[in-house]
Symmetry: C2
Subunit: 190 residues, 2 copies
Amino acid sequence: MHLLRDKILKEGKVISDNILKIDSFLNHQLDPLFLKAIGDEFARRYSNQGVTKILTVEASGIAVGLMTGMALNVPVLFAKKKQSSTLDHRYFSSTIYSFTKKESVEIFVSKSYLGPKDRVLIIDDFLARGEALRGLREIVRQANAVLVGVGIVVEKAFQDGGRKLREEGVRIESLARIASLKNGEVKFLD
Amino acid sequence: MHLLRDKILKEGKVISDNILKIDSFLNHQLDPLFLKAIGDEFARRYSNQGVTKILTVEASGIAVGLMTGMALNVPVLFAKKKQSSTLDHRYFSSTIYSFTKKESVEIFVSKSYLGPKDRVLIIDDFLARGEALRGLREIVRQANAVLVGVGIVVEKAFQDGGRKLREEGVRIESLARIASLKNGEVKFLD
């Protein structure tokens, strides 16, 4: 997606060899029309797949998940990172480790909103080591739902999460795949 | 907003005299087209006000904030509840207390995305005691930006946050105002 690459080159900030900050339109400030274009692109790639539900995780996945759900006209479910007093006790859960935040978090999805009839498209902003994806996939598995595929805005292809999950048979569509962040420079794959 | 009232009556769950759970379309699962209607309604109420930025707070505010930003064609900024390694040290911050979650959290907004030229519309899902609103208003104040007003999906009017803030001169537009949740029943104001 050329538009996305251009925006990453123009507005992204390379914090280290591993960390790219995209706070101007994706992770802190949101650019609604641009995110709509991203949602439309995921919907195009997963059209005719019978997707019944988008699954993502708070907080950064919500915006792009919502735009994809709007384009596909299906509900969007975001996994919660904390049990709130309004989340009842019937939930699926799994644990994910964030290398960026250096902590493990448990994520929760109510059993009311995911089940064996669902065909699930997982959407997230970043894919690096694949921890969040594995946690979300585990929740799809617990629900006996079908995982149709995954949509990722930015894949850090120099880390191995995407490769391993593809080898396990997961369809992953990444709109931008980064080959390297070395020397403060963003280099894309292909 | 009749559509919203109907949906609350049909899908909302009264957990206690103080807590209404709206997990089916607002706080856990998201209904994209319905949230778009909510965003369009906020945009209608705040059209011609020169809004330059939507401000909300993660996670539950993001979806409705994004839809409002899309309708007004302005960027959406969501305050973060944790300093991530990709958030630099130039930020506004304030502390809010969540009575639902029974904890204080500090919220952060990068100085890169909010400044004196901004006319800010604050959007959030719920208004009860007004703690989150006060925290967000404090951030607008720190940025020397203008607070145009506030858009709330569900106001618990039996708590005093909305009344006090209106007395302080803040324009608050709530799409549904709840008079009582007693005896497991949702009663609306007016």
